[in-house]
Amino acid sequence: MNQEEAELISRCQQGDQDALKEIFDQYHKKVYRIAYGVVRQREDSLDIVQEVFIKLFRSIQNFKGKSKFYTYLYRLALNTAIDHVRKTGKYAVSSLDQEGIPQPAEESEKRPDQILLHKELEGKVNLAMERLPIDQRTALLLREVEGLSYQEMAEAMGCSIGTVMSRLHYGRKKMQELLKDYVKPHG
């Protein structure tokens, strides 16, 4: 943790909301990635982002600087997202079923059949992720999306490096099996 970050956290620990805003600006996309990766729903993911930063403001006193700040935040985000899934029982409605999500700019330039294929594939990835146990799903997210090291993943997930490797291995195997038509090399 660098000095600038340490000062920011210290200000936040003293109840400075401007410091929290700076932390939010720095990390909100990362927290959203975790939330969206776990729940796969836009509205719920935004609710989780809010909840995570409110929780952070209330619990930042507990952060003693023994681990990296972002692994502490990832852990908070993961736990909040997992709690949300357990409470609501909701997870991963295929994006084909979602309405009101605007198309990204480059998508509007694609042909309708390409968009459909793209959406179909996204739906399949969502369904495959849904079938993974939540521990394997979070391991995949932290590694493949956030690019965390095994050590950082172990801190964020609160387990050993061996457990991280095992979750990652079984998660990948299952995903490769479920999406074999898309991930197996041709020829």
């Binding site: 990766g37 095994y150 990948r172 090399p185």
Partner: protein, 177 residues
Amino acid sequence: MEGKRGESGMKDSCSSVSKLLEKYFDQEVTDKERSFIESHLRDCLTCQGELKSMEKLRDLVKAPIEEAVREEEFYWVWQKIKRGIQLREKSTGWESLRSWLDISPLFRRRVWIPVAVTMVILIVMVPLLFKKITSYPSPSVVEYIESQTHNVMIYESEKAKVTVIWLFEGPEEAPIS
């Protein structure tokens, strides 16, 4: 013979590499392990395929999430967080009052309910009673007249300007025997 030995050597190498391939893909191998894997990968299509498969999977997992982040507007999320913090601060103040009430043994026994009710009654009634008393000062007897048959008493109040004339029968005299 040599070809067979080469093929079996490659297979042995494949099984050793596959154990390390995931770590290699995640950039968690030592320098020694890296050079061992990379020299194997140059000649082994199977292991190259495995590596490509992991790369494709990474892209598939990552793409929809990155797309969701790109599409999202976050400017209003902070406003909601700010409001959420303020609301919780207010409720925290109320909660601390409640917890203080719960801590006090008197309040825990709910003794305060009749006490509070009595206090409210006193606060409301005392000024009313006081007002009545002051607005109607005690009347004073101005005159008292006795006669054989009737008595007359006159009360007068200066502030209220009220005069009461009280006429009543006098006591019957005992018959003279």
